[in-house]
Symmetry: C2
Subunit: 211 residues, 2 copies
């Protein structure tokens, strides 16, 4: 067995920042950028940028910097976004509806292909060009379309149960909007968005500034 590359978690989190900034720089017709410039735009040091990239290989040219276009492609390949990912949305309440139509997913390589809910008043209605299907259909459609990513925007009391069913259907990554720590088996990723926690974080910072 080949040794599995060791990636520091902070590095992994910064990858998408680098890609986004590099794409913005490409729009300005820049050809290359050095680690100091790139770092400054993102609030990082040049050394950190270089270390991060060095985790994955040798991409820079001494005396020049990083050639933007090929680096973007390398990053996309590393992150797995050099292809399109089909995404299922489970829970078509307000948040589910808003995220189903989120316009920036497409150009980042994510494509919402199915929306599920269990509310009879919602099933059958149109959300972001998709007819909302009953949750029971998940088990059939997710394997059928080989969907690997799901967005889970359901009430907290049913989120774990639905997460279990998503995993059983073959999902390997869940973007969770419920304020709980989902229990998932090894090999399944969970990324959480928790509005209340985010505001609490701000309240805390703001309070500290007065102490």
């Amino acid at each position: 067995m080949g040794d599995r590359l060791k990636i520091p978690k902070p590095t992994a989190r910064r990858l998408s920042l680098y890609l986004r900034e590099l794409e913005a720089l490409k729009e300005t017709n820049l050809i290359s950028v050095n680690s100091g410039q790139l770092g400054k735009a993102l609030g990082l040091t040049g050394a950190q940028v270089r270390k991060d990239f060095a985790t994955f290989g040798t991409f820079g040219r001494p005396g020049v910097g990083y050639i933007i276009e090929p680096l973007c492609e390398q990053l996309r390949q590393i992150m797995g976004t050099d292809r399109t990912w089909d995404v299922a949305v489970v829970g078509a309440g307000k948040i589910g509806q808003a995220i189903s139509g989120y316009p920036r997913f497409i150009d980042r390589g994510f494509n919402v292909v199915a929306v599920f809910d269990n509310n009879p008043n919602i099933i059958g209605s149109e959300v972001a060009n998709h007819t909302v299907r009953p949750v029971a259909d998940m088990t059939r459609i997710i394997p059928l379309r080989n969907i690997k990513l799901a967005i889970l925007s359901v009430p907290v009391d049913v989120s774990q149960e639905l997460a279990d069913r998503l995993v059983a259907s073959g999902i390997t990554g869940i973007l969770n909007f419920a304020p709980v720590r989902l229990q998932v088996p090894e090999g399944v990723g969970v990324s959480s968005v928790d509005f209340s926690r985010s505001l609490e974080q701000l309240a805390f910072e703001t309070s500290i500034n007065f102490s």
Copy 2:
């Protein structure tokens, strides 16, 4: 000048997790909990839990653990959520509307008191029991009501400009939904929710599992 208490960033981020878990335990009529149990529920070690609490004082009883009810209050006080925070929402598009009506804010101590937008088609309409006001009114209403926290859900190209105006109006914490790093002065906090980045994170994890 008294020494400012040094709080590790990871500790600060975990505070809201502790509070939420403790409140859930309180619902089950438990009186006390020890660091190991609390840690297990959150995917942390007992030592980490104890270190985190020890940052702020001495809350536990040897041989017993932590008495849940008073610890909750202490945590709320530390985090600044022992009172209600008024919040302004700027940007009443799909995400702004969904978050304006987010039902869990109230019981976490956050109260959306004003919604602003610049779209004439939206101004004047009702969003979560608030009449949407023109953005120009921000500068008057935020100081008037002494609002300190804002949720910024506007298109990326105007987000920095609006952040500047929020700060100028007296806002000290911004929950930002646009995929950019907002530039804010010292003393103003920014917490970001970035749906595309979250999905990219998942795509990356999922890809790694196949390498």
